[in-house]
């Protein structure tokens, strides 16, 4: 009995000590969850008085929580729509913190390295190309022995930032896709074509099981699970492999407006990987709590500069220098 009371007292004591540290809550995208985890741990060495808590519940839920002001910052793979921004009680800033690529993975005998372009990918998912030995694919891959297998396109059935980047890319390069399907975290995939799977693990599971399947997953996921992925033709006509530097190249040449709500698919650079996107931290410009606001601003400044050095190890692309300095200016406008 005495031991129980003693241990409860110790826990309470520890809780009071921890509660002296500033707690900052965030919620949102699962795409940048690995980055946040690494950053919170590394930032603990820089400033041990601040504690972070991040819930990876999805971009949509993250935006909702920020609008309801139950979290201090949100994280989203798609910029907030004008309608949602208008509903917010204050001005919300978009601060891109990571950029990642979406790899096209497939299951073919002998695991060949495929080259694909935008029209081919769109037609695979629209159902216009039904077999792997179709002349359009063979034309891009003359040295590969393509089998006579039916194509099974696998998409994400849950709403996801990866789907957003993928459909954003297809909408911007293929008018038929833009008309019939459009872009979003959840879209109406062409009926009867292929399968939906839950999460990146679902997509990779289906692709691994079904010969002839093709799917899209985050680059980090494809790398860690040693999945084959295709080289995609970019706007300059080069076939580029998805990797942190090709995604950085895309970010460097993308057009970034002042409010930082941009899309970086099909970027013009020579070495740019075309299917890439950023993930944003969403914060209110006017912070209510001045101590917490200062800690949050300090963390964000660290994340877009020092934190970027940790990104390549997690298969994210670090922000290029010109983007970093513009973001520091933007973070400087946060008032607390």
């Amino acid at each position: 009995m005495k031991k129980i009371i003693l241990s409860i007292l110790c826990c309470l004591f520890a809780a009071t000590i921890i509660s002296h540290a500033q707690l900052i809550n965030g919620a949102g995208s699962s795409f940048d969850y690995p980055a946040f985890t690494k950053w919170f741990e590394a930032y603990g060495q820089v400033d041990s008085t601040v504690h972070f808590n991040y819930q990876s519940i999805g971009s949509g839920a993250g935006q909702q929580q920020l609008l309801k002001q139950t979290v201090n910052f949100g994280a989203s793979d798609a910029p907030m729509s004008d309608a949602n921004l208008a509903k917010a009680p204050g001005k919300i800033l978009h601060i891109p913190v990571v950029a990642g690529g979406v790899a096209i993975t497939y299951n073919l005998p002998d695991n060949p390295k495929l080259k694909l372009d935008s029209d081919t990918i769109a037609n695979l998912y629209l159902g216009n190309i039904t077999k792997w030995n179709d002349p359009k694919i063979a034309a891009l891959n003359p040295s590969v022995n393509l089998p006579d297998l039916p194509v099974i396109p696998v998409h994400r059935s849950d709403g996801s930032g990866t789907s957003f980047i993928f459909t954003d890319y297809l909408s911007s390069v293929n008018p038929a896709w833009a008309d019939t399907v459009g872009k979003g975290t959840s879209v109406k995939w062409p009926a009867g074509i292929g399968l939906g799977a839950k999460g990146s693990e679902g997509v990779s599971g289906q692709v691994r099981q079904l010969p002839g399947a093709v799917g899209y997953v985050e680059l980090a996921y494809a790398d860690k699970n040693k999945m084959p992925f295709a080289d995609v033709k970019n706007a300059s006509g080069n076939f580029i492999s998805p990797a942190p530097d090709s995604v950085s190249a895309a970010l460097a040449t993308a057009t970034i407006p002042d409010d930082f709500r941009f899309s970086m698919v099909n970027a013009p650079g020579d070495k740019a990987y075309p299917i890439a996107g950023a993930s944003w931290v969403l914060v209110y410009q006017q912070q209510n709590d001045s101590k917490r606001g200062k800690k949050l601003v300090d963390f964000l400044k660290w994340a877009v500069t020092e934190g970027q050095k940790l990104s390549p190890a997690l298969d994210y692309a670090p922000l290029p220098d010109n983007v970093q300095s513009r973001e520091l200016d933007l973070i400087g406008t946060i008032k607390y």
Partner: protein, 323 residues
Amino acid sequence: MNESASNQPTASAKKFAAGHFGDSVFKWITLFMALSVFVLIALIGWKLAGGSGIALRQFGWHFLVSSDWDPVNEEFGALPFIFGTVVSSAIALVIAVPLSIATAVYLTELAPLWIRQPLTIFIELLAAVPSVILGLWGIFVMIPWLSAYLFPFLQKTLGFLPLFQGPIYGPSILAGGIIIAIMIVPIITSVSREILRSVPGLQREAAYALGATRWEVTRIAVLSYAKKGLFGAVILGLGRALGETMAVTMVIGNSPQITKSLFAPGYTLASVVANEFSEATNDTYLSALFEIGLVLLGVTVLVNIFAQLLLKTFAGPGVKPQQ
């Protein structure tokens, strides 16, 4: 006389002294607990109806008959999901009910005594497997096996039926139905076993006395007597089948379409909510998902009402289900 009259305690004091106050407190507490369940269900329905307000106003009845699920253009229709839920639950019942009732009959009538308890424990262990684990097993073990052996076999033998035509991917409505069947077998078996055990021994003895064989005794004396209860067990299983989410969403292929082929992927009401809820960024989308939840609640309630009405037509004695 007067002395003894004034020494008698009054009626209410007697009641108080004898402890009836505690009884009425107990009665009120348990009534409160019972009512709170009802209140909880009412609150859930209220919240669902409130949240689906926007979608109800915008789509009306069109929501239940349209097949268009388009978050980008904000057009929502629930028909493919209702179809998927109903069909996968029906398949699950077709597979699970004969299996469960046969197992229950074996456990109560035919099994040697030493095997009954261990077998029961195994069946209840199946109920303890978490839904997600079963889903993972479904993706990595069951589906490859089905698409390599069972589905081609069905297509070869029953391929003349439109149900078994069409390309075989693996994830399909049939796979969803099979995995729901695996999940509801333990429930139906347990409840059926209890029902069959409570059939009075007199019934069996009477049948034997009339010269019935083992099977006839089981059929006439036990199963007929327990019809109502067994039906209740099946409805319990159906209730679980309609709401099953995680295992189903991993094996059903998540494609909102209505097709004749059982090998085609499908989508259920519970799966679409689980998949898309966290990323629903605008109000109409969120409201449409709430309305899907309302439809699921409505389907469950309707099925239960229908079952209760059917139960009433089964005249006669019989064992009531211990629900």
